[in-house]
Each structure stands twice: as C-alpha cells, then as structure tokens.
Symmetry: C2
Subunit: 373 residues, 2 copies
C-alpha cells in the first residue's frame, strides 16, 4: 500500500488548499472532520455523513478503548468496517479525554492511570498503548499521546508538560513504527507562549511526523489568544506537511485559522448544536426552540441542499425540537454538518480563485453575534 502524502495546490496569503492522499480516499484541505466519538457520528448514518461532503471522520481513542474496546473492534474487522465508514479515519490519542472525562487519574512518566467514566474500571494509557489501540482500530491518521495540562498554568508548568509531551511523542512515533498507508501526526503544545510553541515544533520536526497538530487550544483562552498562537506557530511548521488545529471550532474560528494557514479541523459543535436545536446558516445561527419559528413556512437555509432545508419548514423543525423528537437531532445534525462542509468548500474555492468576496469571510467578522439568542 502506498504512503499517505500531502500536496499543496495553491496558497492565497497564508491560506492554502491541498489534498491529503490516503489509500482510503483523498482528503480535500482545508478539511473539517465530523466527530464520530463512539463509532458513530451521533444521529447520522455514515452514508449521510458522506453526503454532507465529509472526506474523513475523527474517532476517539478514549471512548473506543472503554467501549467496545480496541481488541473487540479489531476482531470485528476494524473501525471502518465496524461503523461502516469506508473513507479515512483520524483517531486522537485519548489524552485530552482522559483529562476532561475520567474521574480519577494519576499521571507519571510512563503514562496515565485512570478510571473509566462509564463503569469505574481501572485503565492505563501510555504512548505505546495509545498507538497500539489506534493500530487495532485501523486508524489512517494516528495521533501521538500528549499531556494536556489544565490552563491557566504557569510558564514553568507549561514547559515541563511540553517536555514530557515531546518525550511521549518520540515514544509514540517509535510505537507507531512503519504502517503502510497510515500516517502519524505530532502535536505541538506550549500553551499561549510563542517561544514554547516554536521550541515544541522544532523538537517534533526533529523526530519527524507526517503532519503537525496544534493541541491545547480552544480550551477557553479566547479567540484572539488562539489566533496569536496559531500565527506564532505556523511559521515554525514545514509547509509541505498538513497542519491540524485540534478541537476547533466555531465557523469564525475556522475561517480565521484557514486564513492563518491551517489545513484540518475537528469539532463536536455542529453535531452537539444540532442535538440542542441550534442551526448554523449563511446569516448566523438560529435556535429552533425559539417560538418565533413556530409558524414559519420558510426553509431553514434556502441556500442549503440538505434534507432539513429541502424537505421541511422552520415551523416543522421548531415543532420536533420542542417535542424532543429524534428527527430533530437527525435533521439539524445533518444540516449543521452540511453547513460546515459547505463552509470548507467555500474556503477552498476562495483560496483557489483568490476571492475576497466569499460569504465565508462574513463569519470572520463575528457573524454569530447576529444569532437569535
């Protein structure tokens, strides 16, 4: 099987379009990866996720290791077959969820001991185990295990954590070994300190990865600090490798990050918002729970081609959201994922055609402030 490789097609300012080629299909960049936490993009069939325009999904090592377990997924043919998604899958390393979800954890140089948030079972995650799990899942793009410290943290704490993350990155890379047709990405840490971000990038580049992620952002530092950190980090990364901003974000976060040279994103926002009755449309955001939609015969977003917009009115969507019907989650998730993929497509066209009149750029100005609540 051939290797994964990345080709840049065009740049426009710092923004760029390209293609990450994998044996399971091409990933057009900038790319948004819907989150398929527990082997399902919540409220969606995989063929519907594909219809929204997604080239790649993200799977969560933490969730899958706890339930159903990496070995079981492997025995059932790997994650692609298990969840019936034939395109590429990127898996995180579990580090972030261990910090945010598990009740009790003890971090040492070896790895992290923690208790499952599902049944309290003792679990252990090390760089080696994280890579082992991702290999068992059959992940196309595997992320190194990093230490995610809680912010705000002092610069010394950030520096110590960064140093451990680099040591873990090295162990992760060794554990990854050589896997034909699969890639291993490093994760740049360093809080919001440009010097530390740059040092981390250099050390990871010395190890050598197929792509570089920015971790530890979008965790409450604010958009300006996040963008400043992206601006400080991107120049330290090799142009010929994909850059992935983990866990980001709102549409305006994505637009701003694309303009700063980021190629890949993932976020639960479109799916989680969909389950909560919130929709992203060209004009801003809408909360379908709002009574003002009750009698509306308008489509959710007349410029969208998803089933929610083509087949139903805002009045219907309001009704099913208020009634707690499953179809509300199904339709609004489908819509939001379509919106996100349309946004990525618009950004790719914008760069490709060097256009400054893109509707995507409206989101840069904080379109979400025009939301209805």
């Amino acid at each position: 099987m051939a290797e994964i490789h990345f080709t840049l097609k065009k740049t426009f300012g710092n923004a760029r379009v390209g293609c990450l080629w994998t044996p399971r299909g091409e990933i057009r960049t900038p790319a948004f990866m819907p989150v398929g936490t527990a082997a399902t993009v919540k409220a969606m069939l995989p063929e519907s996720v594909r219809e929204t325009g997604a080239d790649i999904l993200l799977g969560n090592t933490y969730h899958l290791m706890l339930r159903p377990g990496a070995e079981r997924v492997a025995s059932l043919g790997g994650l692609h077959r298990f969840m019936n998604w034939q395109g590429p899958i990127l898996t995180d390393s579990g580090g972030f969820q261990v910090m945010s979800l598990s009740a009790i954890r003890k971090i040492g140089e070896d790895g992290v001991h923690f208790q499952s948030h599902i049944d309290g079972h003792d679990e252990f995650l090390s760089p080696e185990r994280a890579m082992d799990i991702q290999r068992l899942l059959g992940s196309d793009i595997q992320m190194v295990l990093d230490e995610c410290i809680a912010l705000p943290a002092g610069e010394v704490a950030v520096e110590n954590s960064l140093a451990r993350s680099v040591r873990w990155a090295k162990r992760s890379k060794i554990a990854f070994g050589v896997q034909a047709g699969r890639a291993c990405f490093g994760i740049v840490q360093g809080g919001t300190v440009p010097r530390l971000r740059q040092r981390c990038a250099e050390e990871l580049i010395a190890i050598g990865f197929d792509g570089y992620a920015l971790g530890g952002l979008a965790v409450g530092e604010g958009q300006a600090a996040m963008f400043d950190t992206v601006d400080a980090t991107v120049p330290a990364l090799p142009a010929e490798r994909p850059r992935y901003l983990m866990g980001v974000g709102k549409p305006d976060d994505i637009v701003g990050a694309v303009l700063r040279g980021i190629d890949m994103f993932d976020c639960v926002l479109p799916t989680r918002s969909g389950r909560n009755g919130q929709a992203f449309i060209r004009d801003g955001t809408l909360n379908l729970r709002n009574a003002r939609h009750a009698e509306s015969s308008e489509p959710l977003d007349p410029q969208c081609g998803c089933p929610a917009c083509r087949q139903f009115t805002r009045g219907y969507l309001h009704h099913v959201v208020k009634s707690g019907e499953i179809i509300a989650a199904m339709l609004l998730t489908w819509h939001n994922l379509t919106f996100y993929q349309d946004l990525m497509n618009e950004l790719r066209v914008m760069v490709d055609e060097e256009r400054s009149d893109s509707w995507a750029l409206c989101w840069k100005a904080g379109n979400s402030s025009r939301a209805d609540e």
Copy 2:
C-alpha cells in the same frame, strides 16, 4: 378528486388481498401503518419510511391537537406537507389517547373535557371537533370519535358505551360531510361480547362508512379473546369494505388476524421496540442489549435488505444500543419497520398464491417464544 375505493383481488380462506385506492397513492392490503404520532415516525426520515415499503402512515389526532395544534398544521400546508409524507395518512380520532394519556377527563354526551398531558391546558374533544381536526390536518382516512372504556367492564357498561359510540359515530359522519378523495371509517366496539360487536357493526353499517375498524382490542384481553372477537365480528362486516384492527400488534397477532379477514393494522411495537434495542427477525425476536451479541459478526437478519442488516453486524448494533447512541434507534426502527412490511408482503403473496408454506405462518405458532429473553 376521485373517491377512495377498495378492490378485493383474491381471498384464501378468510384471508384476502386487495387495494385501497386513494388520490395520494394505493394502499396494498393487508397493510401495516407505521405510527407517526407527533408528525414523525420516531427516529425515521419519511423517505426512509417509504423505503421500508409502507404505503400509508397513521397520525395521532390527540398528539397533534395539543402540539403543534391542528390550525397551525393547516396554516403550514397540512400534515402531509408539514411532515413531508406524500402518501396517504390515516388519523385516529384521539379518543383512545384521551383515555390513556390525559390526567383529568370528564366524559359527557357532548364529548370529553380533559387536560393536556404536556402543559395541563384545558382541552375539549367532541365528535365534531375530532372530525374538524382531522379535516384541518388533511387526513385521507378519518376515524370517528368513539368512547373507549377501560376493560374489564360489565356487559351493561359495555353496552351503554357502545350505544354512545354509535351516537358519536353518527355525529362524526355528519361532521365529516362530503370530502372528495377522503374516507371516513366507523369503529366497531362491544368489548369481547359477540352479540354486542355484531349489533354495533349493524348499526354502523346502517350509518354507512367507507371502512370499518375494530376498536377496543389489544388492550390486555389476550390473543385468544381478541381472535374470538375478530371471528365473531368479521362476518357482520361488508366484504367490499376494508377492515382495520386498531393498535395491533405483534407479528403473530397480525398473521392470525389476516387469516381471519383483517385488511389494515397499526401499532407502535416495531418503532418502540426499535428504540428499546429489540429487533424482530425471521426466526423470532432479539434483544440487542444481550451480551451474547457483543462479538457477533453476523448480520441482524441475513434475509433482510434494510441498512441495519446490510451495513452492520450484531456486534455493532449491541455496541450502539449499550452506548445509548441515536443510531441504535434509527437502525433498529428501520429494521423493524422493514420486517413488518416484509411480513405484510409475505402475507399478501401467501394469499395471492394460496401458499401454506409461508415463513409468516411460523409466527402464528408463537415464534416470539423463541426470543432470546
């Protein structure tokens, strides 16, 4: 617009196949109507319901009158457009749900005063209002309002209730008036007393309806009593009108009732079971929550063509049921509705080809006793 009409194609014993023609499409009988309670068949897009083979849906007057309200549905283009189902829709009259769901109710000759189970709002349902609501919804087949008394009840109580139901049926028929392309069905009551069922049938036939339903069954009387009542009632009904057994049922209930001459059914069982992790398959029933499915790479039902069976393993379905994922409800509902439509198709073929070797007949022998829990 042409009238609704029913044609019988073939009989085999007491079983029969036919077609109920409506301006919105043909309903092949025996027919199973998925329940679209609150303007959605729970966990399904309407196009997916159609893919299962359903010709007609059932909508609930009680739920729709409370939320979003019949007038609002009418202002948004009627129920078909509102929920994006272009095929025929049958609506019940709300009588059964008033009895089973509303907290406080007061029945008089005029109708029923009750409080909404959603917000405690005072509501009123009379034969005239029930028909008005169904007309506003744009229902293709409208049911008269009947009084559903709680069983067991003494014969005198049943007789009094029946007499009121007949008076209400007459008022309902008058309120229905003449609606081109739409039908009005009467509902035969009379508990499990053959004499009362037959008398009720005669009195309804004297009023004259487009079809006749058997109400007040499948409410705990047991299958044998239900079948005895069907046996006693069917001969009193005109052969040239469709016969509808309301709220039925399990696959073996349906098979037995088809063999006794019933043409139409509705039941929440396939959809509700789907949301609870239970699946109907050719061999019986399966509870996907059962740990014995965790490692299974088998399809749910190898003879089924639905997405759950074609695209996933029992192991995957077990995982998503255990994890409480929405896709579990989506897939198992889709499967169960497909099973029910396959069953109806099998029964139609059985009658048409006068076959006694149908797999559907296995269900007559109590196939559900082979369930895994």
